[in-house]
Amino acid sequence: MSIVAADTAWVLISSALVLFMLPGLALFYGGMVRRKNVLSSMMHSFVAMGIIAVEWVIIGYSLAFGTGNWFIGGFEHVFLRGIDLYSTSGTIPTYAFIVFQGMFAIITPALISGAIVGRIKFKSYIAFVALWGLIVYAPVCHWVWGGGFLTGEALDFAGGTVVHITSGISALALLVFLGKRKGYGLDAIKPHNVTFTLLGVGLLWFGWFGFNAGSALAADEVAGLAFITTFIAPAAAGLSWMAAEWTHSGKPTALGFATGILAGLVAITPGAGFVTPMAALLIGLIAGIVCYWAVMLKGKLGYDDSLDVFGVHGAGGITGALLTGVFASVGATGLLLGNSHQLLLQLEGVVITIIYASVCTILIGFVLDRTMGLKVTESEENIGLDKTCHGETAYNI
């Protein structure tokens, strides 16, 4: 089958948009850490672009999208064997498909890094990302999108499960080894530059249009739908988060509004092309509130998910996956249309992913902790990772 130029253009530009989410994430996270860790935190996003891009074309793509079995793809496309200029995937060149999917493989582990800022060894982070990409991301991606056992069962338009639940849960799991930052709970560890965080969420929203609407893999009506839902849900979630915060803690912070937008982006991801704009409005409103309280919970439970990866991506991803099962009405039917089975399928997808991601992450974490060690020394943490891991300071005169 030959390619459709318009679909190709759309998937290519969408791929560029998703790549652009990485600097966006780097800013979003980097703004929230202290000055002494900002480069370290940004490097978590940047180095993922290096590591996973290379890993993806060498083996990741093959494991995720090779034919394989119910669990994982095969080795047939290792080093992109068997693919050339004229290979197609649907109406686009396979190269375009590989690159688009590769962007998702990059951002997912990078998301995790928000939980563990300021205390993970750089070397170990690299190893973690590389292993996690193979052991967690590639299989789950294969299950849901690559022909594995969830393909065609659980609805996941653009990665609510594959991207956000895996990363949100793994973030929590990794805390088993990395614990809290020094001084957590004693001193306020405040964002060193909230303007970065705002700008970051701007880049993320912009890029997310590629993430969600690009997942239609064609410039068609579904892309249009996924686009408008990705427009509405984050707006609604920003507002509902703000409302929750305003009433609960007295002031509507900019950081909160930005986080709310992100929560809405996460929550609409699995259903972007399956629900109506008005369902997106509801999903957004709900996600803003759910994630607000998920983040508040942290205070009670006392773990240091530093930049709230679980509170936003975990909670938001689960909320979105389940609500997709409720509201699906375009090209699929959910609970509200009488199909309660879909909600069960969604739940199944969520539960399996949670178990798989957390178990694997703990295993990877355990091995790395015993071999390379995961956590920096107390004195390195005090001085800050920019200086101790990277030998530089972000700001100079």
């Binding site: 709970g185 306020a188 803690s249 983040v295 508040m296 919970l297 942290k298 205070g299 009670k300």
Partner: protein
């Protein structure tokens, strides 16, 4: 030596007012530093990401003013007038420290002592 080195810690938002008051009394040389401080002004709890913290380091402005002795009183009074949030004064309005100053040299002209201030 008849000179003093005055260090005042004030609220950032009072800087303009203090500058104006100082100009009134013809003290128009000073050095400004951004600092943060804590003192009696406490108990200001802040919730950040689900945790409550006592925020103790607050942004302040530090003024360094070298004056001849006869300007000391007016300087202190001017700072007080400008730095008070309101007539009563509020906790956190700041402090003034007076240190002895032995000598001053003006670099451009080489002038020394009181005349160089």
């Amino acid at each position: 030596m008849p000179m003093k080195y005055v260090i005042a810690i004030i609220r950032p938002e009072r800087l303009d007012a203090v500058k104006r008051e100082l100009q009134e009394v013809e003290v128009n040389r000073l050095t400004v530093t951004s600092v943060s401080g804590y003192g009696a002004q406490k108990g200001h709890l802040e919730v950040y990401r689900a945790l409550e913290y006592e925020v103790n380091l607050l942004e302040k402005i530090k003024l360094d003013i070298a004056v001849n002795d006869e300007f000391l009183e007016p300087t202190i009074e001017a700072i007080q007038r400008g730095a008070k949030t309101n007539d009563k004064g509020e906790i956190g309005d700041g402090k003034i420290f007076v240190l002895p100053l032995e000598d001053v040299i003006r670099i451009s002209t080489g002038e020394i002592g009181s005349g160089a201030i």
